[in-house]
């Protein structure tokens, strides 16, 4: 098996403001993200040879072509739960690495606010009782993980709420520095801890925003990237792992880690040659759909030892100015979470950080960044890890 390392370059990116974009249709979001990416790369749409479209709604690859008016180029629609955009990027990168195409567009978009509800659709309302997970909404998956985490590591409810609240405060702080974020307000630890309970033990500020948004990337072969710009970003490693429902079918699954994340990170770290993720990675955009998810992800990715994420979080190690900035753009928590766009939004932040264009959130010359997604239940979902690096 070959590594994807240094074979594919990102030479342009675009990202809409995420949030309640009532005045914009999904078509508008697609156009805005695509044209920002074209402009950033200094290309015209007619240069694009193929496109990958990530979305979780019932729209298809035809929609991307139909909206952007491609000239009969191939368009592939990708759906892979919360890793949808990351998997679209992965498939596009493989096609470029194979030498089939020189210049491709990857675009992820979802418009969730038109659903008219605060959360996502429930899995319950099915023709029969769902015998595998009746009544489960996304908050349940991770609330149950939080309950088990407290039990496993002997944390009192108050201790857990403080640690989770600290993550929410951090991500709100970062989001407040980001004009494209869904939520741009700071919160206090007291607000986070005392917020109404959504799905115990998780409260309002433990849950991410459900948003509208789109993000796009232009990829080319690494050896051609210099024709377009000097500060391109290279793909160093990619991993994707899909659970086979082990979380429910195997009664020794501990539910305080996500095997998908572990396996995906192993693949990506091996490709990128990463031995110690905590020491080597400067910035990480991880899938904080809920605060507990960020806590467990940090352990799964090796950013801290198992059961000790709380110490690291409370010591500020994952803060914007900490040793390893986790979710410097506000994360799903505050940047928002249109499922089909999220993975590319994460790459957008790493890309801007590496180019020194992250404004008030700018870290001191980050050279290695990570993006991570997780969808559905631990042991019954998908995990994705992408490693990005500065050139040379």
């Amino acid at each position: 098996m070959e590594s994807i390392k240094d074979k594919v370059a990102i030479i342009g990116m675009g990202c809409t403001k995420f949030g309640e974009n009532w005045e914009k249709s999904v078509d508008d979001l697609i156009v805005d993200a695509a044209y920002e990416a074209y402009q950033d790369a200094g290309i015209e749409q007619k240069d694009i040879q193929a496109a990958w479209f990530g979305t979780t709604r019932l729209i298809t690859g035809e929609n991307l072509a139909g909206v952007l008016k491609f000239d009969y180029i191939p368009v592939t629609r990708v759906e892979n739960l919360c890793a949808t955009a990351s998997d679209a990027l992965r498939n596009a990168a493989f096609a470029v690495a194979a030498g089939v195409y020189d210049l491709v567009l990857v675009l992820g978009a979802d418009k969730l606010k038109d659903l008219g509800t605060g959360g996502l659709d429930s899995a319950e309302i099915q023709p029969t009782a769902r015998v595998d997970y009746p009544g489960a909404a996304p908050a349940h998956f991770f609330a149950r993980m939080a309950t088990r985490y407290m039990h496993r590591y002997g944390l009192a409810f108050e201790e857990m709420k403080q640690a989770l609240g600290r993550i929410a405060v951090k991500n709100h702080h970062n989001g407040a520095l980001n004009p494209k974020a869904h939520f741009q307000r700071e919160i206090t630890l007291e607000q986070a801890v005392n917020a109404p309970t959504i799905s115990w033990p998780l409260g309002l500020f433990d849950a991410c925003g459900v948003s509208d948004g789109a993000a796009a990337a232009i990829l080319t072969r690494a050896d051609m990237a210099k024709k377009f710009r000097d500060d391109y970003v290279l793909i160093k490693g990619m991993g994707l792992a899909t659970g086979a429902r082990q979380g429910f079918l195997q009664d020794d699954c501990d539910m305080v880690h996500m095997e998908e994340t572990l396996r995906a990170s192993r693949q990506a770290f091996a490709m990128a040659g990463i031995k110690n993720a905590f020491e080597e990675i400067d910035i990480a955009e991880v899938h904080d759909c809920f605060t507990i998810t960020e806590m467990v992800i940090c352990e799964d990715l090796g950013f801290c030892p198992r059961g000790r994420a709380r110490e690291y979080i409370e010591a500020g190690i994952f803060d914007l100015k900490g040793k390893l900035a986790v979710n410097p753009d506000g994360g799903l928590k505050c940047f928002g979470h249109p499922l089909g766009a999220t993975g590319l939004r994460m790459v957008y932040e790493i890309y801007k950080q590496m180019q020194g264009k992250a404004g008030p959130r700018q870290r001191n010359n980050p050279t290695l960044g990570l993006t991570h997604n997780h969808g559905m239940n631990p042991g019954s979902g998908v995990g994705s890890v992408t490693i990005l690096g500065q050139r040379d």
Partner: protein, 204 residues
Amino acid sequence: LDDPSLDVDQNIGITKARSTANTKGLHDFLTFRTLYQIFGVRLAAMAHTVPKKKTLKRGNLYPPVRPSASAIWRDRDAIFRLHAGKCRSCGSVQYPPQRICSRCKAKDSMEPVRLSDRKARIFTYTLDNLAQVPAYDLPIVDSILDFEGGGRGCFLMTDRDPREVKVGLEVEMTFRRMHTAGGMNNYFWKCTPVRAAGREKESK
């Protein structure tokens, strides 16, 4: 009942207590006085009481889909008998029954095992205040159970006081209506705390 939205029908007193492995009679339920109001709300759904108004606005964010008779028929053993599969090759119990064993990958090796009369313990759970499923009493208790003798499943809990729910709590299974749509009921199993202490008192 304290809930002003409910009127108790006269017939509530003469409901016969049925006694099977999985079903408690009304008398058994009423033994646990702290749950009296919760039972009252539940009983409203069983037509013993007459709701004057819709008790909850939340819990029906999406209209329930009409149950599919053919889908229910195909999965009848897993749904109504609560059959899990036990792998003949590796012995592990899995719910719902699988064509391919999750552990040893053996194909079509599962023999049925009935979970409905087994006790289980809560592995983990959440108390959901914004449930999207039809609900008479919030929070919804969504629990992951580990069954005696192996096997894990995800079930809603009923006839419970949210304050008593904790990891390790012993539960038993009870057959319930999940939702009704298009004139069809959709039935499935829920779990409920084992009331051993109350039964002992009863026998004395």
